[in-house]
Amino acid sequence: MSEKFYIQKYCTIKNNVVSVNGIEVFKAEISDKKEFFKSVYQFLDIKYSKFFKMDNLSKLAFLSAEFLLDEDVSEEKNTAIILSNNASSLDTDRKYQDSINDSENYYPSPAVFVYTLPNIGIGEISIRHQLKSENGFFVFDKYNASFHFNYEQSLLQNNKSDSVLAGWVNIDGDSYEAFLYLISEKGEFEHTENKLKQLYNT
């Protein structure tokens, strides 16, 4: 049953640069990550005001996915989403904690609280692209190519999904990093553990 699958497209967002398939598509020297994400959103020129409600981690996941998935939601796509990171939702957890720290000025924010889970970003991508397939979020020390390769290969080989959007989306303090890729039956690079490691490290 060992069919071959391919990395159709991959997107990296880090250090103020967005690259798709290894080629730089956008760059902006903006040190504030929220403002940088806004500039990427504007570059994409999509009308999706819900973007502004998202927390930083969901924005990063959402934006990376935008470069990989097309806008057409007329046909239901069986695309699974498997993401991972190291800091979970820490960036947003801190923001939420700030809203409940001061007992004199105590106003917990529901809009911030709902993002204190790393998988909400998957929810946002699913809502945008109407993806109702399997989805999971894993916490590892660092990007685990072996785990991802086995999981995604298994989903495709067993026909659980037709394609898989997967990768690493992490925010910790000021640093952010996204490495997202779309695996399906066709693409430029064969889906192998080594290829994933190589693409992640470039």
Partner: protein, 85 residues
Amino acid sequence: MEDLKLELKKNIIEVLNLEDISLEDFGDNDSLFGDGIGLDSIDALELIVMLDKDYGIRLSDPKEGKKIFESIEVMAAYIAEHRTK
């Protein structure tokens, strides 16, 4: 009342991250939920926090919010009547 309506619009745009809407586009009678400004259930909860934080009005039942948050016009009238701050 006009000042309060403007203040509300500014606060709502800021608190709810409505970056796509300008003050000029924000009509007093536009429906805040559904087809108008397009707020959702979490936004409603944030508005409840805002009512408490900025105007000292405490709502205990989220359903009360539905009527009060119909539009800026309705919201301003309610706040003017019930505010304690």
